[in-house]
């Protein structure tokens, strides 16, 4: 039982490049979330999903897109990376009335 797995763990991009971050959970959770963590700002919600095939915007959605084609996977896409998107990205999942379980993050640097 791996819990929440994020890939890749590290990535360096050049400005304007695109990439997709993958989050996979094996707990059959309905809800999934993408956050970014920046120094002094805590974790901020980018997008979230309350079930397969559904997504919604969080606090800071601009510049990101997401997809939830399968219940166990939640993908975060950067279409045209910008230096302001340099951050640590965390995925989380949960079921109703349960706490969120987090992955160990993806450290993304954009040059």
């Amino acid at each position: 039982n791996a819990g929440v797995t994020q890939t890749p763990k590290f990535r360096v991009l050049k400005t304007g490049q695109s990439m997709t971050l993958l989050c996979a959970q094996d707990m059959n959770h309905e809800y999934m979330y993408w956050y970014r963590q920046d120094p002094g700002m805590g974790l901020r919600l980018i997008h979230y999903s309350v079930g397969e095939g559904t997504t919604a915007k969080g606090e800071v959605p601009d510049g990101y897109n997401v997809s939830r084609l399968k219940k166990q996977n939640f993908l975060l896409g950067l279409e045209s990376a910008a230096p302001s998107q340099t951050s640590v990205y965390f995925c989380a999942s949960k079921d109703s009335n349960q706490p969120q379980h987090f992955g160990d993050g993806t450290r993304l640097s954009i040059l």
């Binding site: 929440v4 809800y31 979330y33 805590g42 979230y48 706490p99 987090f102 160990d104």
Partner: protein, 114 residues
């Protein structure tokens, strides 16, 4: 708009001492207040949580105190240990059984000196 404000930003405590981290919120609709602990290179993990129908919750050395009228809640770590050195985040949400969206505080880095 920062709906959950956390202080202090950093904290140094001697082994055996009490660590206190404070949070204040604005949205009176919040009904779930968890604290998360994060070690370097890892994701946050739930430490303890409280709902506004109680004023205090204790789990081992960790206690949440909740003041609904002041819209404040705090984490107390008794007999602090070097292994408690981590970053702590308070958070709040409306209807954890629904979307479960969490609003996090800015985080507190705790260092417990041996």
């Amino acid at each position: 708009q920062q709906q959950v404000k956390q202080s202090p930003q950093s904290l140094i405590v001697q082994k055996g001492g009490i660590s206190i981290i404070n949070c204040a919120y604005e949205n009176t609709a919040f009904d779930y207040f968890p604290w998360y602990q994060q070690f370097p290179g890892k994701g946050p993990a739930l430490l303890i949580a409280i709902r506004p129908d109680v004023s205090e919750k204790k789990e081992g050395r960790f206690t949440i105190s909740f003041n609904k009228s002041a819209k404040q809640f705090s984490l107390h770590i008794m007999d602090s240990q070097p292994g408690d050195s981590a970053t702590y985040f308070c958070a709040a949400s409306v209807g954890s059984g629904n979307t479960g969206k969490l609003i996090f505080g800015q985080g507190t880095t705790l260092q417990v000196k041996p």
